[in-house]
Symmetry: C3
Subunit: 141 residues, 3 copies
């Protein structure tokens, strides 16, 4: 009924990345689930998990351009600046975008819409890999 | 323990719409659930699901005015422009607002606060109906 | 398999507050759960629940400064102004940040990352206590 384990995402450059495949490849249990829910929880405060368009890479570059406007570096009122100019904007971006998503499971697959994919927003200039706690819930047959 | 089905929302004009009733009417199963959780997952990348004030319609118009400032059309750095000036702002708005919500179920009803309702944010100028995957989880008696 | 009850948060000043301890203290059931999910649903439309950095208090003050830019008071297009200049910005902030979070439970604890904590965003100038509906789901042993 519950299945929980860690998913490790490889280090990424700053920006938005489509990670649907990288996530699903680490969830072989999905196949066997008829109805359920998959929860993905990113254990970090300077990266984000969200859902967005899966086809055109310019959506990812436009997201990065625009979130750099919404959460700019070096705002005069920032006090949390010790870890570099990209740090406080990273916390703001993850607060705006979120660090967890829940996706329904239907017939062995994530029930994403045709154009939906999972985005990792990497909001630091130089970050290591990122950890997701995946929790799958399903009906026992 | 799990109940999953599609909810269809009728086409809406661009802006924010209170859809609590339209959603609940398509969930006759709610009545029989004592304790549980209801998950609503919108299968689109240019509309959003969120929770907000359910009483005064000017909250919905102010939300539309303000999100048009937060995600304006025709920003000079947008590259994803082929599908019209409302398209990239729609992706940004859904990323900011989210496409899924989880609401507790108590005594046969969504346990919303007195002033809370479900908002569909329709972020395209001309859109068709929208599909939600509803997944209800509950304790078997 | 399901456990649901109300968590009451004491009144807070306007701004962001780390409430992980205040929340967990009201969930004695956590101890006994090996694998599960904890859902927190804030029943209000002018406060928010989100996850952010748990160590440096300047992150909380910077969040308040920046969200006051993202959702300023007295925008000329606001029509929902009867309840004071802090009201419509409060609705916008909760829409941007969210009012519910789901956190995995592992080995009797919330599986938060090292630097993650639960933030209550209090977006009104003068607010009373706030109510969260907590729903815990877990595998029956």
């Amino acid at each position: 009924m519950f299945f929980q384990h860690r998913i490790l995402l490889k280090p990424k450059t700053r920006g938005f990345h489509l990670v649907t495949r990288e996530v699903v490849q680490q969830l072989p249990e999905l196949d066997r689930i008829n109805i359920g829910l998959a929860h993905f929880f990113l254990q970090h405060t300077s990266a984000s998990l969200s859902i967005n368009e899966n086809a055109d890479p310019t959506v990812r570059t436009d997201m990065e351009s625009h979130f750099n406007q919404l959460a700019p570096e070096n705002a005069p009122y920032y006090k949390h600046t010790l870890e570099g100019p990209d740090d406080m904007p990273a916390h703001i971006k993850q607060a705006l975008l979120g660090t967890e998503i829940m996706i329904p499971i239907s017939n062995g697959e994530l029930a994403l819409g045709t154009w939906q994919g999972i985005y990792l927003g990497e909001h630091r200039d130089r970050a290591g890999g990122r950890t997701i706690i995946a929790t799958l819930q399903y009906e026992q047959e």
